[in-house]
């Protein structure tokens, strides 16, 4: 398709990452290695200024996808385009010094683990500025770091502290300051609040909203908790076992989820106003190692499975404006009709 519009900020096309599960036996070199399909044929786009949530359980491939997108890991196949430029093919170690490195940054899940215990808060924020921003140790650098600290609400007096001398919320702020130090266009947030108390979580979520308004960044907010993602995102992508199974505007996903897995995720959110809803998924997820390409990956756990689910894998089909889901029974499972 030829379009005159500017390319999307991020466009991901048939992205795959397979991990060999064991080294090949040297006695039997012909045996095909068993592959773990961590990310399996994922395609989506993210526009400038947009906030997209990426939701799924542990093991669904969202961490791998994050590492592919931030170019810490090389994909098996597929394309990652950033402002129209293909960056998926650049080897991860080379990308460390790529001009686009500063444009694509990540806020880590564990604010403690992601700070070097030997670096003060100042050193941690200074690292990208020195490496990629061309700053030398100078009053200019100090001024920039103090400006960043103020932006994320970190008292300047704390800049000389080591991570173990900071609280969880303060460490989260250091991690955010480091990630936004070079004004990235895309900030990927990998469960940025899951290690924090609710009281601090609210502060950090407000901070992220505020920063987006001020700096005009795009967010890819990755989390297992739909309830938190909902607060910041315009659009939500739901992943299950390496694949996108539903994608759409936040309201549509919440009010009219069409995939049984999305429905289960929403039902699992504790809602103090209502009694717990009966559990919708049974058993354990299927193995991500060499999955059967013919079978829907939710089959077996899904309460609505039919025979068709074992013969052809469902593909993403339009369900509404900008809303797609991959389920053979999506028509039947329209929650508006079920209610």
């Amino acid at each position: 398709m030829i379009s005159l519009d500017p390319p999307p900020l991020l466009s991901v096309d048939h992205l795959r990452k397979y991990f060999p599960t064991a080294r090949r036996s040297f006695l039997n070199r012909d045996a095909a290695p068993r592959l773990l399909h961590a990310v399996d044929d994922v395609s989506f786009t993210l526009e400038a200024g947009e906030s997209v949530g990426l939701v799924g359980e542990s093991g669904c491939g969202k961490s791998t996808l994050v590492r592919l997108l931030t170019r810490l890991l090389d994909p098996t196949s597929g394309e990652i385009r950033f402002e129209g430029r293909e960056i998926g093919a650049i080897a991860a170690p080379k990308f460390a010094r790529h001009p686009l490195r500063s444009q694509l940054q990540l806020v880590f899940q564990d604010p403690h683990d992601s700070l070097n215990p030997r670096h003060t808060a100042f050193d941690s924020i200074a690292a990208p500025l020195k490496q990629l921003g061309g700053f030398q140790a100078s009053p200019l650098l100090t001024a920039r770091i103090e400006e960043l600290a103020e932006l994320v609400g970190l008292p300047a007096a704390l800049l000389s502290r080591f991570p173990h001398q900071l609280s969880g919320g303060q460490k989260a702020r250091v991690g955010i300051a480091r990630a936004i130090a070079l004004h990235p266009k895309l900030l990927i947030l990998d469960e940025p609040t899951s290690a924090l108390d609710v009281s601090v979580q609210a502060v950090i979520l407000h901070l992220l909203q505020d920063l987006q308004a001020r700096l005009g960044m795009s967010y890819l907010f990755v989390s297992h908790d739909l309830n938190v993602v909902r607060l910041l995102c315009d659009r939500i992508i739901v992943m299950y076992l390496g694949q996108i199974i539903e994608m759409g505007p936040t309201d549509a996903i919440f009010d009219n989820p069409r995939h049984p897995y999305t429905q289960a995720l929403i039902a699992a959110i504790p809602d103090p106003g209502t009694p717990p809803q009966p559990l919708q998924l049974q058993g354990e997820p299927r193995s991500p190692i060499d999955p059967d390409p013919q079978v829907c990956r939710l089959y077996g756990r899904c309460p609505h499975g039919v025979e068709a689910c074992t013969t052809t894998t469902p593909h993403l089909e339009p369900m509404g404006p900008d809303h797609v889901a991959a389920c053979h029974r999506a028509d039947v499972l329209n929650p508006a009709q079920l209610r």
Partner: protein, 281 residues
């Protein structure tokens, strides 16, 4: 790395044993520097008329078979023994760390090759290997250092490799990549410094061991040659006289050797806390 004076004082003051070990270490360093100056006699001057005198007011540690003052010889030997140990440990620390960091971080064929080299060294009884290296290279102080460094290499390489395997999975290593650090920068600025606290314990223990090793080589006649004062040779020379009752010949250099090894063994935990910012409050 910044070592604040306050932190040093805190680490030393926190634990009586660490404090004692630091004092002892300071004593050894001073002896190594000023041993020549404070020795009451020339350590090489023999005097047959004074041979095998027991400890007395003139000769606190007695005299040896050639009438040389044992106290002077023990004091002067400190520089050589400490020097060999420090040089050997430094060499194996640098080479072993480089090998270990590379193997741990890159893995793959680098790890495989480094691993096999280390396995090969480890396959020999280490002291016998040191003897072989000495026999091949010849008797000299430098060669004792090389031999001691080579047999200690596997320890450093293995310890730092396993540390690096753990540290490289930490989030801050990924963060460092996002900040634009290249692999070499990550190894030098992130992996190595964070493995350092654990290494300090090994360095300290290894120092004691290196002193024993150097003394041991000299004891069996490889390495430092008489009449150079060295604790190992002195113990070797004195050993024959123990049966005939002249115990002081071997006893005093042996005691120095023991105290030096003990000092380094006790020093380890203190050194680790010194280089670990997490211990600062």
């Amino acid at each position: 790395m910044t070592l604040s004076l306050r932190h040093t004082r805190y680490v030393i003051g926190e634990n009586a044993i660490t404090f004692g070990a630091f004092l002892l270490f300071l004593g050894f360093v001073l002896l190594a520097i000023f041993g020549d100056a404070i020795a009451p006699y020339d350590p090489l001057a023999s005097n047959a008329s004074l041979a095998l005198n027991p400890p007395s007011a003139q000769h606190w540690f007695g005299t040896d078979a050639l009438g040389r003052d044992i106290l002077s010889r023990v004091l002067v030997a400190t520089r050589l023994d400490l020097g060999i140990a420090i040089a050997a440990v430094a060499a194996s620390f640098v080479a072993g760390s480089a090998l270990g960091v590379l193997a741990g971080y890159w893995g793959g064929w680098v790890d495989a090759i480094a691993g096999r080299v280390i396995d090969t060294i480890m396959a020999f009884p280490l002291f016998v290997l040191a003897m072989g290296i000495m026999a091949a290279l010849g008797n000299s102080v430098e060669n004792i250092i090389y031999a001691t460094a080579i047999i200690n290499l596997p320890l450093y390489a293995r310890v730092i490799r396993s540390e690096v395997l753990v540290i490289k999975t930490a989030g801050y290593i990924e963060a460092a990549k996002l900040s634009g650090n290249t692999d070499v920068q990550i190894m030098l600025r992130y992996l190595f410094p964070n493995a350092l606290p654990v290494m300090m314990v090994h360095i300290s223990l290894n120092m004691g061991w290196a002193i024993l090793n150097a003394a041991g080589l000299s004891f069996i006649g490889l390495g430092v040659q008489p009449p150079t004062p060295e604790w190992g040779i002195m113990v070797a020379e004195g050993a024959t006289y123990i049966i005939s009752g002249e115990w002081w010949l071997a006893m005093f250099p042996g005691l120095m050797l023991m105290i030096a090894v003990l000092c380094f063994n006790l020093l380890g935990d203190g050194l680790r806390d010194l280089v670990d910012p997490r211990k600062r409050t």
